[in-house]
Amino acid sequence: MTAPGRRAVIAGAATSDYPYLPEHSEHAVHGQAADRALADAGLTLADVDGLATAGFFPMYAVGVAEYLGLQPTYLDETNTGGSSFEVLVEHAAHAVEAGAAEVVLVTYGSIQLSQMGRRLGTGGGGGGGIMPGPAVHDALWGNTLVGNYAMAARRHMHEFGTTPEQLAAVAVTMREHAGHNPQAQYRDPITVDDVLGSRLVADPLHKLDCCVISDGGGACIVTTEERARDLRRPPVYVLGASHASTHHLNLSAMGPLTTTAAALSGPRAFARAGVTPADVDVAQIYDSFTITVVLTVEDLGFCAKGEGGAFVEDGGLGLGGRLPTNTDGGGLSSCHPGMRGMFLIVEAVRQLRGECGRMQVPEARVAVAHGTGGVLSTGATLVLGREVP
């Protein structure tokens, strides 16, 4: 049982500038996001005793600590791909509730677009040479990152009759949302026909079924309810959290491709929060590809397995729809710098604080942020709330 007053909250949250930051280093994006999240909370770096971040080389958090001038006594750099930041917030919540840390800065920065260009979405890596490690078992066939999700999409269509039009509906709704976000990478409205008419990347996924590639970052502050009491912003409670991995890095080692780690993390997170999917007012769901959202709404229990296609069509994910989702425009239209999970958290916090303007879900009290990493390899669910139910 958490000690009185030590219940974990998010006391500040912010994104960096995005989606194109050619003048920034990766660390500079971290710095901008951290400064903004701290200012949002009414804190400074001097108040921070914990640092949590994820990147793609070892001792990543140590490097970020050096750049920020921090001497953290709590460090976490768990990397589960796109779900990393949901996991890092879960860990930070445990840490502050246990008294191992007081104020944890969770930060993300990436200049993927400026650094690597737009080809990364098909799978990374150059040509030639010897390919070490287990991933060779998937990659030597010319498979791509998109190809893995395409194979999941194909199987879902086969088992449940999901249609390309239903998948496209996810992209259409995300673009509609992005139209209200001045920072979004792509804002012009698109139709289902536009999605289906865009070039195939890995059949059945078209270019517009795939997330954008961006620069950007974000940060949030995890602390205790007591510490947040005299801070600037209303606290957002971390009501429940859980994460899971269903298989190895190889798609060949995954069981059914139509059920993801969200089926493990979701029910556990909801149970810990003491709420059900029906209590959720707004969702921020990792949308690396349109199929990712369809699989996730099923696995989190917003609809039955196989009904995700019908759930997302006809504006099901829009304001006033079955489950208002990715109100910033998501990774499909707004910003996807590689590991988008932090953006899900920031947008969920903004919704719960009522700051989303035209995209505000009225009276939003419970929000879900769910990250997906790897090739449907990991899932992490955060259930956030304006108050404790």
Binding site: T122, G127, L140, R154, L200, D203, P204
Partner: protein, 145 residues
């Protein structure tokens, strides 16, 4: 020597202690799967211990070389530049017959991409990449007319 299905610039697998036997069998045109000698569970890719019972005792069981398409994609945009001329090509996940549920990600060859279907029966089509390396791609089983 016949022309290769993929260009020479493709990455080649580097065998590890766990996978060397699998690749050696492939070089001999034998499709195998690692099977735990303690509990009988199969696994792919090959690994050091059984994920189910933790036994390190395993054999490489020879498979008939047939299977069923579990799912597939037609790749239209490759990430290796030299594959740019090879698209579209088919990447499939094949459920291997006799493999206890083990699945192989591979290519389907000798079939037009638009004719590939989930559930399609397929059989191995070996491609020799060199004296010590062969890749198990798959082609549709010819339907009796």
């Amino acid at each position: 020597m016949t022309a290769r299905w993929f260009p020479d610039e493709m990455p080649m697998p580097a065998a590890s202690a766990e996978t060397a036997g699998w690749w050696q069998a492939a070089a001999d045109h034998r499709l195998v799967v690692q099977r735990c000698l303690a509990c009988g569970a199969t696994r792919h890719p090959p690994g050091p211990v059984c994920p189910r019972c933790r036994s390190a005792d395993a054999e490489l069981a020879v498979l008939p070389g047939t299977g069923t398409v579990y799912t597939f994609t037609v790749v239209h945009q490759a990430f290796i530049p030299s594959l740019g001329d090879r698209v579209p090509y088919v990447v499939a996940a094949v459920d291997l017959d006799g493999a206890g549920g083990a699945r192989l990600v591979t290519n389907l060859v000798d079939v037009a991409p638009e004719e590939v279907r989930i559930g399609m029966p397929v059989t191995v089509a070996w491609e020799d990449m060199g004296p010590e390396l062969a890749l198990p791609r798959f082609r549709p089983v010819q339907e009796p007319r």
